[in-house]
């Protein structure tokens, strides 16, 4: 009984620690700019207003940044999922020279901090005249997300019994048809995780975007929100409102793909 009570109290404390910062951001977003300095732990007060939200939408370039971020994150997701799903399949199913070396090189790239790659990326992109260009960001975000995505997809493909592909081949499928009619549909949990990871890694990225994008019209949400900070007067209310809205697309994406995140999709296909 004591053990159970202790567990419940611990869970409750962790829940408060996790939820309170979010509630506090909501609270700040509803207050005036000086409210951040307030000592009160109160979330909602009599002075709460949606002023910051209306200002965010109608007096800043927030919608433009949102559009830019959506374009970049969607394109990165499409490129990463397309490339990871196909290359991981080849790495999972075909034995060829240098296969293991390739797999471990992909893993090796994950051992460097992303900021180390900024300089070489910048040099490459400037030679390709892709600095200050969305295409440059697509390339960087996709290539940095790919190693994890490929490993993730390969690990899933490895669990799919080969007999399914052999059955499809005997049924008359070509290699490509086997892949998209049989393998891809049953890989939806891994595809969903890969898509979510790619989307989130580009959606909230700041450092690379700050180096590559200089034109304010191309700013993404993290860059735009950063512009609310100034050395003397940071607009914390706007900042908090923006931060909350930024999290909404990720939440929507997560909820829409949650139904694919179920285990046991291959259940019943083979004896086990």
């Amino acid at each position: 009984m004591i053990k159970k009570t202790f567990a419940w109290i611990s869970i409750l404390l962790f829940a408060i620690f996790s939820v309170y910062p979010l509630l506090y951001i909501i609270s700040v977003s509803l207050r005036g700019d000086d409210a951040f300095q307030s000592q009160s732990l109160e979330i909602f007060s009599d002075t709460s207003t949606f002023k910051n939200y209306s200002e965010l939408f109608f007096k800043t370039n927030f919608l433009l940044w949102l559009r830019n971020s959506l374009i970049i994150a969607t394109m990165t997701t499409i490129i990463s999922v397309a490339l990871a799903s196909t290359s991981a399949y080849a790495l999972s199913r075909h034995m060829f020279k240098g296969r293991n070396l390739m797999l471990f090189s992909l893993l090796g790239t994950q051992m460097f901090p992303p900021t180390m790659l900024i300089l070489p990326f910048y040099i490459i992109l400037s030679r390709l005249q892709l600095v200050d260009h969305f295409l440059g960001l697509f390339i960087i975000y996709s290539s940095t997300a790919l190693p994890f995505c490929i490993w993730q997809m390969k690990a899933y493909y490895d669990t799919i019994p080969k007999e399914l592909e052999e059955a499809a081949i005997l049924d008359g499928c070509s290699s490509w048809k086997t892949f998209y009619k049989i393998i891809l549909p049953i890989s939806s949990p891994a595809l969903a995780i890969t898509a979510l990871f790619s989307f989130m890694s580009s959606w909230s990225e700041y450092v690379v975007a700050a180096v590559i994008l200089q034109d304010p019209l191309l700013y993404t949400l993290p860059l735009g929100l950063r512009s609310f900070q100034a050395s003397l007067a940071t607009q914390w209310g706007l900042y908090a409102a923006g931060a909350l809205i930024v999290s909404i697309p990720v939440l929507i994406l997560f909820m829409s793909i949650a139904r694919f995140l179920v285990s046991g999709l291959t259940l019943g296909s083979v004896k086990g």
Binding site: E166, G264, G268
Partner: protein, 348 residues
């Protein structure tokens, strides 16, 4: 007709199939039987085109199919695992190959209904594989193979994961379907009961080679060597080692030989011997196993100095006790003689 000649297949340095020669007639039900790792499944996969042939040829009719893609071989296969497409319903699984052939949806639906009826799956067509029992899944796998109406259907140990009851039901079902559809069926199993009950002919494999091909009766009653004699038949044949004394056709006096006697050909000698029967002397019972309708006695012939184990199948209504001595007899025409060194069958 399928003609396999001099077919060899290796995985690295391991030669799995060694110069296989085999002819399978149209409409035949041929069983490839052998212990695990003997190459029978590899031969089936090679026929299907899922493994490349290293040496030799495979002909279907007059056409050599060595380099023909699996999807163009006019063969369907039922896998050892069910290999059902988990994201498709039973109907979609069965009709998948037909829709790939660009058949109209009405045609596909009609064929799916026919197969559903044939295999008693018509109530389950809208279910996914995970909602089915093992036996139902196996029937769907069978239905998927039959839907294409190929001239050859390959089975790779399809019943190995089912319980004994379901297995015997499915055996009958597959045999019934073979009689109906008349396709050539090649069936791999390590279960000799499946082989003898289903096959028109059985090819017994050992170490990548075919040891004997014949009808179930030929294999059972005239095993070519010791391996086949021991592999076919439950309970296993008795082997009594000894030396030839006196005159035996085809064996010189003093040759080391093995006498093979199936448990069911050993009878209790109550004093009267039939014209072809021979007295085997006194037998001492060491233990008995009750198999239901029959008792399987384990013991040895008292005169045998080596006290080699001899099994005798008797009616379970009789009572026998441990240590009891009885007299045995047998028909010599139903005995088998093998060379001890080579294991080859000898005339008796």
């Amino acid at each position: 007709m399928i003609e396999i000649s001099q077919l060899s297949k290796s995985f690295g340095t391991n030669e799995v199939l060694k110069s296989i020669d085999l002819t399978i007639q149209d409409g035949e039900f041929l069983v490839l039987l052998g212990p695990s790792g003997c190459g029978k499944s590899t031969l089936l996969r090679t026929l299907a085109g899922l493994e490349k042939i290293d040496k030799g040829t495979v002909k279907v009719g007059t056409k050599v199919i060595n380099n023909v893609d699996p999807q163009d071989r006019d063969m369907a296969m039922v896998f050892q695992s069910y290999a059902l497409y988990p994201h498709m319903t039973v109907a979609e699984n069965i009709g998948f190959a037909l829709s790939l052939q660009k058949k109209s949806s009405a045609e596909v639906a009609k064929r799916v209904q026919e197969i559903g009826k044939l295999l008693q799956l018509d109530q389950l067509l809208e279910r996914k594989p995970k909602e089915l029992s093992g036996g139902q899944r196996q029937r769907v796998a069978l239905g998927r193979a039959l839907a294409r109406q190929t001239s050859i259907v390959l089975f790779d140990e399809p019943l190995s994961n089912l319980d004994a009851n379901l297995r015997s039901q499915m055996r009958v079902e597959i045999k019934r379907i073979h009689d109906k559809v008349k396709s050539t069926m090649i069936y791999v199993t390590h279960d000799q009961m499946e082989a003898t009950t289903m096959g028109d002919r059985i090819a017994v494999f050992k170490d990548g080679k075919i040891e004997q091909i014949g009808t179930p009766n030929e294999i059972y009653h005239h095993p070519r060597n010791l391996f086949i004699a021991s592999f076919i038949g439950t309970p296993e044949m008795n082997f009594i080692e000894g030396t030839i004394v006196g005159k035996v056709v085809g064996s010189a006096t003093g040759t080391s030989s093995v006498l093979g006697l199936r448990p069911e050909v050993l009878k209790i000698n109550l004093g009267e011997l039939g014209p072809k029967e021979k007295d085997l002397g006194v037998y001492q019972i060491e233990l008995s196993e009750n198999l239901g309708g029959e008792l399987l006695l384990h013991g040895h012939l008292v005169e045998d100095e080596l006290k080699q184990n001899v099994r005798v199948l008797v009616d379970s209504s009789e009572n026998f006790s441990k240590g009891q001595k009885i007299k045995l007899k047998t028909e010599l025409t139903r005995a088998h003689l093998f060379d001890k060194q080579t294991g080859a069958r000898k005339a008796i």
